[in-house]
C-alpha cells in the first residue's frame, strides 16, 4: 500500500527520479574515484568539500521551502544549521576526549572515579576558556542518541518559539527578515562568550575524528560522511517534494501570494507558517549536523548573519520555488566560491591595482544576485525550463 503510493508519486513526478538518479550517479562516481576506494583521483579533501556542498544544498532546499514556497524570507536559517552542528559536535568532542583520558590513565594503579574522569575531560575541553566544570548544557553529551535527538529538538524548539511569537503578532515581509537576522546575530554573540558553555570563539574542534575509530583513515571517514550527506539530501528532497505537491503545498503557495485571502478561506495561516518554519529549521539542522564533522570545526562565526543571507542568495540564483533550483544554486555558488577564494586562480595585477579574487569574488556574487533578481527571477532553474521546452 505504502509502496503503491510512492510508486504513483514517482510516476507523476519524474523530476524526482531524475534528481535521485543524478545524485546516485554522482555519489557512485565520486566513491569510485576517491582515495578511500583506491583510485585516488578525487582527493580526500575534495570528497569532504563535495560532501559539505551536498549539506549546503540540503540547507538551500529548506530555504526554498520556507521562502520560495511559503514566502517567509527567513534570514536566520543558518543559525539552525549551526546549532545542528554544535549539538553533534558536543558528543563528538566529549566521547573522543573521554577515550583519550581513559587511555592516558589506563596504566594508573586505581581506575578513575566518575568524578575524576569528568573533571579530567572537563579540563581537556574547557581549558581553553579557563574552566573545567561541565556546563549544564553538556548534560547529555555522553550519549550519542540523546545528542542526536537534540540536533532535531534544539533548533526545532527555537524555531517553534521564535516563529510562534513572530507569526502570532503577524510580523511579515522585511520586518520578519530583520527579526530573523537579529535572532541569528544574538545567538552568535551569545556563543562568542566564553561562559556560554560552548567554548566561546574557539568553538568545537577535532570533529573529523570519530570516537573509537582512530585507526580508520580519514579517506574512509570522509566517504561515509559523503554518503550520509548524499542520503540526507535525497531523503529530504523527497520529503520536501511530497510537501509541496500535497494540498499543503497549494496552501503555502497561496499564503505566499495572498495570506489574508487564505485566512478568509478558513485556514489558520499562522499555524501553517509555523509548520513550515519548524520543518525547515529541522532540515537545516540535520544538514549542519552532517556538515560540521566534515569541516572538523564549528565556531560562532559560522552563525554570523551573513551566512543566512548567502543561503537566500543561493536560492535566488538557483531559482525559487522549484527545489532543484536551490540545489543548483547552492552547489554552483559554493563551489565557485571555494574556487575563487581558494587561491586556485592567480590574482590579476593591473599595475596600479591588483584584483584580489578573495575580495572581488564577493562583489561578483553581489552583482550576480542583483542581476538574477532583476533580469532572471527564475534564476538558473529558468534555464532548465527553456531546455524542457526545446
Amino acid at each position: 500500500m505504502q509502496d503503491a503510493v510512492l510508486t504513483k508519486f514517482l510516476l507523476r513526478h519524474p523530476s524526482v527520479l531524475v534528481f535521485l538518479g543524478m545524485l546516485a550517479v554522482f555519489t557512485i562516481a565520486v566513491t569510485v574515484l576517491s582515495e578511500g576506494f583506491g583510485m585516488g583521483i578525487v582527493s580526500t579533501s575534495l570528497v569532504k568539500t563535495l560532501g559539505k556542498t551536498l549539506c549546503l544544498a540540503l540547507a538551500a532546499i529548506a530555504m526554498d521551502l520556507v521562502w520560495g514556497y511559503c514566502g517567509i524570507l527567513s534570514l536566520g536559517h543558518f543559525a539552525f544549521f549551526g546549532l545542528g552542528g554544535y549539538m553533534i559536535g558536543m558528543w563528538l568532542m566529549y566521547a573522543r576526549t573521554e577515550l583519550i583520558v581513559l587511555k592516558a590513565n589506563a596504566a594508573a594503579a586505581l581506575p578513575l572515579t566518575p568524578q575524576e574522569l569528568s573533571d579530567a575531560i572537563g579540563v581537556q575541553i574547557f581549558g581553553v576558556v579557563g574552566g573545567s566544570e561541565f556546563p549544564a548544557i553538556w548534560a547529555f553529551s555522553d550519549s550519542f542518541i540523546l545528542q542526536l535527538l537534540l540536533v532535531v529538538l534544539v533548533p526545532g524548539i527555537l524555531a517553534l518559539v521564535f516563529g510562534w511569537l513572530a507569526f502570532r503578532s503577524r510580523v511579515t515581509g522585511v520586518y520578519l527578515s530583520i527579526l530573523t537576522q537579529a535572532m541569528t546575530l544574538a545567538l552568535a554573540l551569545y556563543l562568542f562568550q566564553n561562559d556560554s558553555g560552548l567554548r566561546g570563539n574557539n568553538g568545537l574542534s577535532g570533529l573529523q575524528n570519530l570516537p573509537g575509530l582512530e585507526e580508520t583513515s580519514q579517506a574512509d571517514v570522509s566517504l561515509w560522511f559523503f554518503w550520509g550527506s548524499a542520503f540526507a539530501l535525497g531523503f529530504c528532497y523527497v520529503i520536501a517534494k511530497l510537501i509541496v505537491e500535497s494540498k499543503l503545498g497549494n496552501v503555502i503557495r497561496a499564503i505566499r501570494d495572498d495570506e489574508s485571502r487564505v485566512r478568509f478561506l478558513g485556514y489558520n495561516v499562522e499555524g501553517y507558517k509555523l509548520f513550515v518554519f519548524v520543518i525547515t529549521a529541522i532540515m537545516a539542522a540535520i544538514a549542519g549536523a552532517i556538515y560540521y564533522p566534515q569541516a572538523g570545526i564549528i565556531n560562532p562565526a559560522e552563525l554570523a548573519p551573513i551566512a543566512s543571507i548567502y543561503l537566500a542568495v543561493w536560492v535566488a540564483i538557483g531559482g525559487r520555488g522549484r527545489l532543484y533550483g536551490a540545489v543548483i544554486g547552492a552547489i554552483f555558488v559554493s563551489l565557485l566560491s571555494s574556487f575563487f577564494t581558494g587561491g586556485q586562480i592567480p590574482n590579476i595585477s593591473l599595475g596600479f591595482y591588483t584584483i584580489q579574487w578573495v575580495d572581488w569574488w564577493l562583489v561578483l556574487l553581489g552583482l550576480s544576485f542583483v542581476i538574477a533578481t532583476l533580469y532572471a527571477p527564475k534564476g538558473l532553474g529558468g534555464l532548465v525550463d527553456k531546455f524542457k521546452k526545446a
Binding site: S246, K247, D257, S260, R261, F264, G266, G271
Partner: protein
C-alpha cells in the same frame, strides 16, 4: 424566521474618522439582501467587521442559533463558522489552476496535518467539476487562474465561496468590470445561491440591484439610512438627498 446574523450598534473609527457609526443589521437564513450606498459609506468596512478583519470599537456581532459573538474571533475561525466573503477586488490565487483554487476552498478539515495528508478523492473531484460548471468555467478547469478574464476571476471567486459551503455569503461588488451579459449571469448565480444560503450583496449598479429583486439596505456615513424594497427606498427623501439625487 429567526436571524442568522445580528449586528448590534457597531462603531469603528480610523484616526478619529467614524467609518461605521452605530450600525445595526440583521439577516435571516436563506435571505438575499442588497446593500447600496455612496463611495465611502462603509459598506466594505462593515464586511471587514463581520469577517474579523477589523475589530469594532463598540457593539457586537452575533452569529447563529447559539448566539456566538464574532468580534473576538480570528478571520479563519469566522470563515470556518460559515461566513464566506468575496472581495471588492477579485482575489484568486493567480499562480494556481482553477481546479486547485476550488480544491483549496472545498469544505474539508483545515488543520495542517490533515491538509498535508489530504487525498483529492473522486467525490471532491466531482464537487470541483460541478462547481466549475455552475460558474461557467468547466472548459478552463486546468488553466492558471491568472490567465482568466476579469469577469471569470470574479466568478471563480464566487465558486470558491460556494465551495466553502458557508451559511452566509458576503459579496462585495461582484459585477464590477463585467459586461452586460456577464452581469446577467451573475444575477442568476446570486439568486440561485440565495435559495440555500443567506447572501449579502454590495453593489453600485441600480440595474443590477433591480434584477436581484430583494430587500435593500442603504448605508450612509456608516449607518443605515433606509431599509425596504427598492421601490420604497428610492422614494425615501433622505436617500434621494444623499445618494440618488446627486
Amino acid at each position: 424566521m429567526s436571524s442568522l446574523l445580528n449586528v448590534n450598534g457597531i462603531s469603528v473609527s480610523f484616526d478619529g474618522f467614524k467609518a461605521i457609526n452605530d450600525l445595526s443589521f440583521e439577516i435571516a437564513e436563506n435571505e438575499l439582501r442588497a446593500i447600496i450606498g455612496p463611495n465611502g459609506a462603509g459598506k466594505s468596512t462593515f464586511m471587514d467587521i463581520v469577517t474579523g478583519k477589523t475589530r469594532p470599537d463598540m457593539g457586537d456581532v452575533v452569529w447563529g442559533e447559539k448566539n456566538v459573538s464574532l468580534i473576538k474571533k480570528s478571520e479563519s475561525d469566522i470563515a470556518r463558522l460559515g461566513i464566506g466573503r468575496k472581495f471588492q477586488r477579485p482575489t484568486v490565487f493567480e499562480d494556481q489552476t482553477v481546479e486547485d483554487n476550488l480544491m483549496m476552498a472545498l469544505r474539508n478539515d483545515r488543520a495542517p496535518f490533515a491538509v498535508l495528508f489530504y487525498k483529492f478523492s473522486n467525490d471532491d473531484k466531482q464537487k470541483v467539476v460541478d462547481l466549475a460548471d455552475s460558474i461557467g468555467l468547466s472548459e478552463d478547469i486546468n488553466r492558471i487562474a491568472g490567465e482568466l478574464s476579469h469577469g471569470q476571476k470574479q466568478w471563480l471567486e464566487i465558486g470558491m465561496l460556494l465551495a466553502q459551503e458557508p451559511r452566509l455569503l458576503l459579496v462585495d461588488e461582484p459585477a464590477a468590470g463585467m459586461t452586460k451579459q456577464e452581469r446577467n449571469k451573475t444575477v442568476e448565480l446570486l439568486k440561485k445561491m440565495a435559495q440555500n444560503h443567506a447572501v449579502v450583496v454590495v453593489e453600485h449598479d441600480m440595474e443590477f440591484i433591480r434584477d436581484l429583486d430583494c430587500k435593500v439596505t442603504v448605508l450612509h456615513e456608516g449607518s443605515v439610512l433606509a431599509e425596504g424594497s427598492l421601490e420604497q427606498v428610492i422614494e425615501n427623501q433622505d436617500v434621494i438627498d444623499v445618494y440618488l439625487g446627486r
